[in-house]
């Protein structure tokens, strides 16, 4: 029996296509989970209250930003602590276009992405000389400088200075959808398009080149890959994703201000990416949900345990830290890594 198993493994072209997990073939698992995910995404806004829809929308926005960061770090191996800057650039582009030039919100999403693509590409060029930790430092500078630039008096006519800019989220054109539900679907559609885009990008020639640079830059160059161009373009694409997230986030919060985009936002995106899993597209959604919900869960937990004790508020951060350590300890490669391990552990080769 064992012998024939070994033989069949050797003969199979791709074990991932025939392996069986709990009696269901792996591709079918993919299909089922995708269908369930899409169905849940479509039905949820009708069964939960407005506030939860708003939260889910914000989580989706974070998921898009995490996806952007993941393209850069997970697939291309470049570190960034500066993605709050792209998020801010996208958010401000949308807010300024809506409030100062009265452009309809929908027409600001793509320009926000394009501006951030250009920004990312241009930043990617000098960043080529920097590797690993040094690149992290350079992008850190970007994150720290951005809120200060947004406050700068000579830009105040555009940026509104410290006061920021108020904007209204778009009204729902469909009668039975409330404002929150409509915005949710706008974000969902954008997110879906971007996921398909990322999926196509990473599975093709370009994606292999991007990943080859991550795995071994020297070998990639030897293979004839223009590493400078690919690295800059990846930075641009990553900026594009994060910029779109920023524009959508501006509509969700209906407000932008320099303090909305501090260095902490970059860290949150990084946390979301690591928890979700490097180099995995669906993981971005987990990352987005984690960023939004785990601080809330920590807060609720501390509230439950300590009741009205005012000093207990200081423990919220501790609870969050424990969740984070636990997550990293149980899933050292993020949720995506955990799923991969789980499948490898429990699936059986198919016939």
């Amino acid at each position: 029996m064992a012998l024939s198993d070994a033989k069949s493994v050797a003969m199979r072209p791709n074990p991932a296509h025939t392996a069986v997990l709990f009696g269901i073939k792996l591709p079918m698992w993919n299909l089922y989970l995708t269908v369930i995910g899409i169905a849940a995404a479509l039905v949820l806004p009708f069964v939960v209250e407005g506030f939860t829809v708003f939260q889910l929308t914000q989580a989706l926005v974070y998921a898009i930003a995490v996806l952007g960061l993941n393209l850069l770090t997970g697939f291309n191996g470049q570190f960034s602590l500066g993605h709050s800057a792209f998020y801010a650039l996208g958010a401000y582009t949308a807010a300024i276009m809506v409030e100062r030039y009265e452009v309809a919100f929908y027409w600001t999403i793509l320009p926000a992405g394009i501006i951030c693509f250009i920004g990312g590409f241009l930043f990617g060029l000098p960043a080529l000389r920097l590797e690993g930790l040094f690149l992290a430092l350079a992008t850190f500078a970007l994150a720290v400088a951005t809120p200060q630039l947004l406050r700068y008096e000579h830009f105040e006519g555009f940026t509104g200075g410290v006061q920021g800019i108020d904007l209204f989220k778009p009204d729902s054109p469909i009668e039975f959808l409330g404002g929150d539900q409509w915005l949710y679907f706008v974000v969902l559609v954008c997110g879906a398009l971007l996921v398909v885009g990322a999926w196509n990008l990473t599975r093709g020639r370009t994606g292999r080149a991007i990943m080859a640079i991550r795995d071994n830059p020297l070998a990639a160059r030897t293979m004839g890959i223009n590493t400078s161009l690919y690295k800059s373009v990846t930075f641009g694409v990553s900026g594009f994703y994060t910029g779109i997230a920023g524009a959508l986030g501006a509509a969700v919060a209906e407000f932008v201000a320099p303090d909305s985009f501090t260095f902490f936002l970059s860290v949150w995106l990084l946390v979301g990416m690591v928890i979700g899993g490097l180099g995995s597209i669906p993981a971005a959604i987990v990352g987005g949900l984690f960023i939004l919900y785990v601080p809330n869960i920590s807060e609720a937990l501390i509230g439950q345990v300590f009741g009205d004790d005012p000093s207990a508020k200081a423990l919220i951060g501790v609870a969050f830290g424990c969740f984070l350590i636990f997550a990293v300890y149980v899933m050292p490669n993020g949720l995506a890594g955990f799923v991969r391990w789980f499948v490898a552990r429990y699936s059986r080769p198919g016939i």
Binding site: Q55, R151, Y152, G161, V162, F176, D259, P295, D308, A314
Partner: protein, 401 residues
Amino acid sequence: MKTLHVATAAVAATMWAGAAIAGNAPGVTSTEIKIGNTNPYSGPASSYGTIGKSIGACWNWVNDTGGINGRKIKWISLDDGYSPPKTKEQIRKLVEREKVAFTFQTLGTPTNSAVHRYMNKKQVPHLFVATGATKWGQPKKFPWTMGWQPNYQTVGAIFGNYILQNYPQGKVAVMYQNDDYGKDYVIGMKRAMGDKYAKQVVKQETYEVTDPTIDSQIIALAGSGADVFVNISIPKFAAQAIKKMHAIGWKPAHILNDVAASIASTYKPAGLEKAKGIISVDFYKDPNDPEWKDDPETNAWRAWMDKYYPGGDKSNKMNAYGYAVCHTMIEVLKKAGNDLSRENIMKQASSLKEVHLPMLLPGMYADTSPTDFYPLEQMQMTRFDGTRSVRFGPLISAETE
């Protein structure tokens, strides 16, 4: 889809009907009033978090002593990490899910800005916000939002009055942070001084929050020969200014804004000896001040701290601030009696008449009207004697309209 449509409409209709029939605000029952709040318990501004904690402790005390008109206070204070998008999320949670009657003492200028329009659109009282910006007192445009502490324009006006009275012939140098905070002080000074501002102010300099130092500004101001220096800066730059002035030997009457008038964060880093003589303003009792060592009100506050907020720092002024602002809210709720509709809560908040609050300076009171949404508009001058800030002169008031 049709059934969904009908269901949504039905739910919306019920909610609307519910809101229309009930006289009291959501979150108010015969035994409870739900109050919402956001504070930075984490993140860069978490040192302010003690304000939210001391207010929570204050409500525990209120509930232990029988509540207000028989109702206990349910205080739901959420962490926003000083991040405006998070504030929006937490405020929406408080209003839409927790169904609080109103919010109270939400902290921070950018954070409150993010929900300013939301609260007024939803017509939820957005009371006594914890920020000194002037924009919280616009009853016509934002009838549901009200500040509490003396705002920056008020303080600027007090500085202007002080200069007019004490240095009528003085040559004045002004330095301010180039943003709304700094400009608000200058607006207040101009209002108080009128055309004297242009006559007396011989030099104005600004700095950006991003500047590494303000040495060149100080040198330029010293060069103007001014004998009064109005310093509107945050602690970091205030400390730099004190050091530089000492180094170049410029010794004008130094008026420093209350924002930076802190022994721990400004005078000590600059050197206590160099900070001697600095003039500023204050409006509530600093528990560290020996003057209040045997003050019954401060002792009551100390006993309350021991019992209800034992983890809190009794040398931290912010805990006294939280106690005082909490008493403002108690006063409003007591006055509202059993009519706890949002309209009436707002009406009571905007008709405070010379209400004394514990831990405010003697003689100070909170006062509002339907056109005056600035509760506290008095302050007293202080002078730093090398170890502590000593109050002098009478209470000075300056109305902002």
